[in-house]
Symmetry: C2
Subunit: 174 residues, 2 copies
């Protein structure tokens, strides 16, 4: 992570970010959530169509309802806030590329949160109930649930993770 | 981007990254490409299945061939190097979530490159010829092309971009 003699904070954030599922209970400031969503929106998208939309779920009762739609409900309940990320199918131009763009957007969200202090975890398992989530939130059917991100200050900071070595990921170099 | 009185370099990188399509011709170091691919691999994925694979294309003749498969071929030819990103369908567990994870991985790649100096652009249009790209590179059919990222030092640095205002992206806050 040393670059021209200085730490590269971007690489540091990418390598140190973890999926945070246990929270201290310390409140997360609204301005941090809005800044992280702004950062999310600066992901690239095909034709710059920016197909991502966000619902910010602070209300514990609402998070309890949404939590009942995933086996990871306790994480959504124990978080300080959750952000439901949707694809707006009305502006979609290519479903697969739009899903990739939303993935890039969620990664920006996670990195931005990590860089400002809170931790977060990307919950995809809830997509099995994506229609129920949409209906519970009272949203029109052009909005397709892509993920729920649970957010809170981490209860601990020594979490480890692993990745495959580069040799297994690089098919060839030519 | 001020956070606790210090610039947040992660937000700065997210906001200042651009899709770079014009290159100075200055060579890009191999160690930067490998570090950026390592950063890409630290994206989250469902069940940590890490479905991304990478082919690094330095050879101008090879990039010329791949370039002929997209209307953005001149960008791939004028770049210093290109990285073709694949989904390994043998480790896929959910196609949509895997495509999202690859999107997160590509965003890490782009941010890491930007933070180390080179610029890059995510080329999705080439997916119309994804089978031909795979065959040109002599790869097995478990590898599905997800994008080609063209990489080089930027010819200029004053490029602007725009995003929708947050009010259009946030469905509700409750």
């Amino acid at each position: 992570m040393e670059q021209h003699g200085a730490v590269c904070y971007v690489l540091k954030a990418i390598y140190e970010r973890r999926s945070v599922r246990n929270y201290s209970g310390e409140p997360v400031k609204r301005e941090i959530i809005l800044e992280a969503i702004k950062a999310a929106s600066w992901a690239p998208s095909g034709l710059n169509n920016q197909p991502w939309r966000f619902a910010i779920l602070w209300d514990p009762d609402l998070r309890d309802k949404i939590g009942s739609l995933t086996r990871y409900g306790h994480i959504i309940r124990n978080a300080s806030v959750a952000v439901a990320v949707f694809l707006d199918k009305d502006v979609s131009y290519d479903y697969i590329k739009d899903c990739q763009a939303v993935g890039a957007c969620i990664q920006n969200l996670l990195l931005a949160l990590h860089s400002m202090g809170p931790g977060a975890v990307w919950i995809g398992e809830i997509l099995k109930n994506k229609e129920a989530v949409r209906e519970t939130l009272g949203l029109p059917n052009n909005l397709e649930l892509m993920a729920v991100v649970a957010i809170g200050h981490p209860a601990s900071k020594n979490q480890t993770s692993t990745r495959k070595p580069l040799e297994e990921l690089i098919i060839f170099e030519r």
